[in-house]
């Protein structure tokens, strides 16, 4: 064995160890799609009334559903492309880590809507999202950790500025945050090579 081969072996081992614990099916395109949807959602309120709960629910409901769909399709396609199981061990760990934050967001959404205080929700959603993203940081790509931190920092600012700024901040933080996530994932994806499959096969 020569030193170059030893270095390659160490690289393969590191990749294998990351692969066992990291959720790798999150795609850059899903992040970019979620960012574009959030930005578009915020821009729609130039024409719609954010104080109207129906408008608010319809826009952000569609943004959430669209982002979820983009993630699901992206994950399925990536799984098919790489031959990896979609409902894998890391995927179960990520869903388990996200579940409490998602449940909290759902409860707060119902609570604030029922009291006509829905314009406070963007700050609350950022808090829940940030907590959820950080909870997955042991399994998810590093970029998710940065997005989680951004959300946790932006949440108190959004809440402090109040309802009149909540839509704009939702568009900026969720929109640009996800676009940034997509770009970082894209860079990571470009750097990765199919060496691992060849080495193990």
């Amino acid at each position: 064995m020569d030193p170059n081969q030893a270095a390659r072996n160490l690289e393969v081992i590191r990749t294998l160890m990351e692969r066992t614990t990291r959720y790798q099916l999150l795609t850059a395109h899903a992040g970019l799609a979620a960012g574009c949807l959030a930005g578009t959602g915020a821009l729609l309120f130039v024409f719609l009334d954010p104080a109207n709960p129906r408008h608010f629910a319809a826009v952000w409901g569609l943004v959430f559903a669209g982002s979820l769909l983009a993630t699901a399709v992206g994950t399925l396609m990536r799984g098919r492309e790489t031959g990896e199981k979609v409902w894998s061990r890391p995927a179960r760990a990520v869903v388990g880590a996200l579940a409490p934050a998602l449940a909290a967001a759902a409860v707060f959404t119902v609570f604030f809507f029922s009291r006509g205080m829905h314009l406070w929700l963007p700050g609350v959603w950022m808090l829940c999202y940030g907590q959820g993203a950080l909870a997955t940081s042991a399994y998810a790509p590093t970029a998710i950790r940065w997005l989680g931190l951004l959300m946790l920092l932006a949440a108190p600012v959004t809440l402090a500025l109040g309802p009149q700024w909540s839509i704009a901040l939702m568009g900026v933080v969720f929109g640009l945050g996800h676009v940034g996530l997509g770009v970082l994932l894209l860079i990571t994806e470009r750097q990765q090579t199919p060496r691992l499959h060849r080495s193990v096969a």
Partner: protein
């Protein structure tokens, strides 16, 4: 050159095989894993994984236990203390080979 040869000779031959190296790396990171999770993570066939696991178990590097979850049998694997020590030693050896090679290049 002698030091380099010694390092290469001392590499654990059981762990030096790519398939077994992959299994041990995955178990070192993932802790206890089911046979299915391990197979999916490493994209290995059942037969291939099974043979490698048997060799690692025989050497005492991996502990395998079988249990029933509901009505389904489940095989779980984890590194033993000896396996973790051997893996750490293997990594140390690889790093030493890389260092030795760089030192030779500089000389």
């Amino acid at each position: 050159v002698d030091e380099f040869k010694r390092l290469v000779d001392e590499l654990d031959p059981l762990l030096h095989e790519p398939g077994r190296m992959a299994i041990v790396s995955a178990l070192a990171a993932g802790g206890r894993m089911t046979f299915t999770d391990l197979r999916d993570a490493l994209t290995m066939t059942d037969g291939n994984l099974s043979i490698h696991l048997q060799k690692l178990e025989k050497k005492g590097y991996v502990a395998i236990d079988k249990q029933f979850v509901g009505r389904r049998p489940q095989t779980r694997c984890q590194l033993t203390r000896a396996g973790r020590t051997a893996f750490t030693r293997y990594l140390d050896h690889l790093e030493a080979i890389v260092r030795q090679g760089r030192a030779q290049e500089r000389a």
